[in-house]
Structures are given as C-alpha cells and as structure tokens.
C-alpha cells in the first residue's frame, strides 16, 4: 500500500519509516536551494513563509507565467549535497519535516534528522515531468530576485513521488552507508586494473 504523508506533518507521522522505504507527499512543498539556505542560515534572513511541518524540495523548476499566476512546466531534484553546509541549521530554524532532493546528504544533516525527527528523501533525478504533474497549484513565489531556478516557489502537490527515504528519523543514512561499501570495493577493483594498465615501461 502507498504510504502517503500529508502536511502538516508531525514527528509521530514519521514513526516506523526507515531508509530505503518509499513514500509519497500530499500537501505543501517549497523549492529551496543554495542561496535560499544561505539567506536563512548564514545571513539570518527571515523566511517569507512558515515551513513548520512542511517539506522543501531541492529543485530549480521551469515555470511559465499564466494570466492568473504560474504554471509548473518541469520540476525535479537537484544535488542535495550542495546544501549540506546549511541543512542541519535550516531544519533546526524552520521545523521543516521532509527534505526532498537527489543523491545523499552528510553526517550533519543525519544528526539533525534524528534530533528534530525529519526525513531526507530522493525523488528520481531527471524525472521533471513526473514531478510537475504532481503539482496541483503554485500558490505563491518569494525571493524571485534570485531568478527562476533559485526562487522560493510555494506549491501544493498531490502524491509527489516516489520518494526514497535516504535519511530516516533515527539518523540512519543510506548513502553514507553505501558509500563506505562502494569505497571498499573500489580498492579491490583498482588493484585489478592497475596490473593491466602499466603501459609506461
């Protein structure tokens, strides 16, 4: 059965969710990338919208203006690791419960997910039309001075997903665990390759 999270999300809603699980999101999610994180954490600016119990999307969409507002053309995740420097403090400052992006995040974010009971999830990268068709409406936009990809787009979504849980509220970190495994195998592979590519003699 599809596990669907509805915003506003509280800590109890996330109980029992572990890394590798697949969830979907219905409710409010806001795009938030490099400069928006920097403004909140490093520059101490007030967010123009409350994120408590809601979700952010590491994404820079293609948005089309319409006579009555905006239309979401394409939205998919960007590399979450770019936000690692700010994410833990961002979670603490805003009360955001679900962070959606692609690839993994680091140890600091995992600690914050455990402490504040939050998730980091992967939406399959490059699947921007799937993402856009889950957007029911763009309800607002802030910080448009940053340009279309970096602005703070406030969206109402229905069953956005699949969202693959990469950090769970216990602080387990799927990508970090896997990375250690990949690095171990890499040494083995390299020793095999090295024997065969000694072309300088």
């Amino acid at each position: 059965m599809k596990k669907i999270l509805h915003t506003p999300i509280n800590s109890a809603d996330l109980e029992g969710i572990s890394v590798g699980d697949i969830v979907y999101l219905t409710g409010h999610i806001v795009t938030c990338r490099d400069v928006a994180h920097r403004r909140v954490v490093a520059l101490g600016q007030e967010l123009p919208y409350s994120l408590a119990g809601k979700a952010i999307f590491h994404a820079g969409p293609i948005v089309e203006p319409t006579p009555s507002g905006y239309n979401m053309v394409a939205i998919g995740p960007t590399t979450s690791m770019r936000m690692e420097r700010f994410e833990a403090e961002f979670i603490a400052a805003t009360g955001v419960k679900v962070v959606v992006g692609k690839g993994g995040m680091g140890a600091k974010t995992a600690v914050a997910c455990r402490e504040f009971k939050a998730l980091h999830c992967v939406f399959p990268g490059g699947c921007a039309v799937l993402g856009a068709t889950a957007v029911e409406a763009i309800e607002g936009v802030e910080w448009l001075d940053l340009g279309m990809p970096e602005a703070f787009w406030i969206m109402r979504v229905k069953e956005l997903g699949p969202l693959i849980v990469s950090i769970d509220p216990q602080g387990n970190n799927l990508f970090e665990t896997n990375k250690a495994l990949y690095a171990e195998r890499k040494e083995m592979v390299l020793s095999q390759i090295a024997e065969q590519v000694a072309y300088i003699k």
Binding site: G20, I22, A59, G60, P61, I62, E64, V73, A74, I75, G76, T78, T79, S80, M81, R82, K102, G103, G104, V122, P124, G125, G126, C127, A128, V129, L130, G131, A132, T133, L146, G147, M148, P149, E150, P162, I164, L174, F175, N178, K179, L181, Y182, A183, R185, K186, V189, L190, Q192, I193, A194, Q196, V197, A198, Y199, I200
Partner: protein, 297 residues
C-alpha cells in the same frame, strides 16, 4: 542574408527543443536494455519512473529534466560551407529563441555580477567549440545540455608520469565514488588524457559526446575504457546512486599526445538523461537529425 539567418536561428531553436525533450537513439537503446536487467525492486521503480517521465515529456511536450543545462555546441564546420559567416550568431540567437519557445530553464549566471541573465546567453555562453573540416561544405553541430548535477563531478588533475595509467584509473574511480553517485546514474563517463589540465578537461567533455558503443582507436585505449567501465559497474552502484547493477552506460576516453613530464587526466560526466543531439546542415539549409532517427524536425 537576413532571411537565411532567421531560417538558421529557427533550425537551431527547433534542434535544441528536440534535444531537451527526447534522448538520442543510442542512449534510449542502452536504457531500455538496463531497465530489463534491473536487479532490485528499488532499481525497477526508478527505471519505471524514468521511462514514465520520458513518455510524459513527449505527450505534454516538455523538457525531460527541469535542468536544461548550459548549452554547449561542438561544431565541425566544413571549410567550404557558405553558412560559416552566420553560424555563430545563429547558434547564440537560437539558444535565446529556444529558451522562450521550449521553454528552457535560465541557466546563465554572470561571474562577479552574480546575476542570472534570464536568457541562457552570457559571457562566452553558449559555449562553442570549433573544428574546421577541410574540403567539405557540410556542417555538423553537436549540441549538449550540461546540467548542474552532471557538471559537479567534473575535475582535472596533472599527475607525475610516475603515477602512470594506474594513477589515471585511480583518479577516475575516486571521482566517481565521491561525486558520481550523486550525478544521476547510470552515467556516461568521459576521460581525457593529455599533457595539461585544460586539454584533458576539454577532451573529457568531447568523450561523453561520442555515441555509446564507440571505442578509442588505439587498442590499449579501448582496453582502458573497458576496464574502467567494468570496474565501475563492479562497485554495486545502480540508478540514482542507490545499490544496483549498472553505474555507467559507458566510459569513453579521448587523448592527446602528452609532454614527457606530465600526465593530465580530465573527467566529465553525463547523467542518464544525456541530452545530446547531432545535426547535419547543408548550404541549402536542409538538415538531418543524425542522433534522433525518425523524429521530425
């Protein structure tokens, strides 16, 4: 002349529109094969999402990925082509037109001013690389949409020759495990080997533009490509960097003779949504979309 230029701009804009919405034939073929070989439920769900997305992109006439990249052109211009005087202007204006018509995301941020131009046109962008081909009037344009995620792993280094090709292999694998996992696998990996960093870096980008299934002309080069591809696929990394069977669709090496004292290595990465197109253009302004057979222009 003005009429010819306008026509050329339209051809370029239409070309970019297709490149942003449909993957080239060789990549589609490879992804179809990988989808059938997916090893885990998670991998299957991701491949299903990718294929659903590509179908929806065609039905709704939208770019496959929201990050339509910084546009790069690699042009092989016939020395006899009558279009040469118009070409650069047409490529730049074509990007501007496609940005509005497709639409493409705004991806040109001016250095130091830190302002997005909103047009995908900025200082030296679109990036254009020229090769002159003597004695032909044909022009071949390869367009590539370099997304941010795919560009983040890009690196180049100059090694001591004592590091050998073993050192080059290690640099590629280190880069891929550290950064490649986040760049939307299954990836196309380009490796440039040369005597200085900037030559190696540019060659690594040219390498990802070669069609899948092509090999380095030197047998050792082809062997090096195969060893790296097999090694990367033995790591257990799958789609989206999660556990799975196939980390890379291919590894391509391009090389240039090196200085005796240096061994430079460049690495470029193309994500699964490898938006690359090849257009052949003639003096009479007819053209063929070589990379996407059966797609009408």
């Amino acid at each position: 002349m003005a009429e010819q230029l306008q026509k050329l701009i339209e051809i370029v804009a239409k070309f970019l529109d297709i490149v942003g919405k449909r993957l080239p034939d060789d990549v589609m073929l490879k992804l179809t094969e990988l989808r059938a070989n997916a090893g885990t439920d998670l991998e299957r769900i991701i491949y299903d999402s990718m294929f659903d997305n590509m179908e929806q992109a065609i039905v709704l006439n939208r770019p496959i990925c929201q990050d339509t990249g910084v546009i790069s052109f690699f042009v092989k211009a016939g020395s006899e082509s009558k279009l040469l005087p118009l070409l650069k202007q047409a490529l730049i204006a074509g990007v501007g037109e496609a940005t509005v018509a497709s639409p493409l995301r705004h991806n040109a941020v001016e250095i130091f001013d830190e302002k997005n131009t909103g047009t995908n046109i900025g200082e030296r962008i679109p990036f254009i690389s020229w090769d002159i081909i003597s004695g032909t009037s044909e022009v071949e344009i390869v367009a590539y949409m370099a997304g941010g995620g795919g560009s983040l792993p890009g690196r180049a280094i100059t090694l001591m020759p004592s590091a050998g090709y073993e050192g080059a292999a290690k640099y590629v694998l280190d880069t891929m495990v550290e950064f490649g996992v986040n760049a939307c696998p299954p990836l196309i990996v380009g490796v440039g080997i040369a005597g200085s960093a900037e030559i190696a870096a540019l060659l690594s980008k040219k390498a990802i533009l070669r069609p899948l299934g092509t090999h380095h002309p030197n047998p050792r080069g082809a062997e090096f490509e195969q060893l790296l591809a097999r090694g990367l696929n033995d790591l257990g990394v799958g789609a989206q960097g999660l556990p799975g069977r196939t980390f890379v669709m291919g590894v391509h090496v391009e090389s240039a003779a090196r200085h005796p004292s240096s061994l430079s290595v460049g690495v470029s990465v193309g994500c699964w949504a490898h938006r690359r197109g090849t257009l052949r253009l003639h003096d009479d302004l007819t053209s063929e979309l070589v990379s996407h057979q059966g797609v009408s222009q």
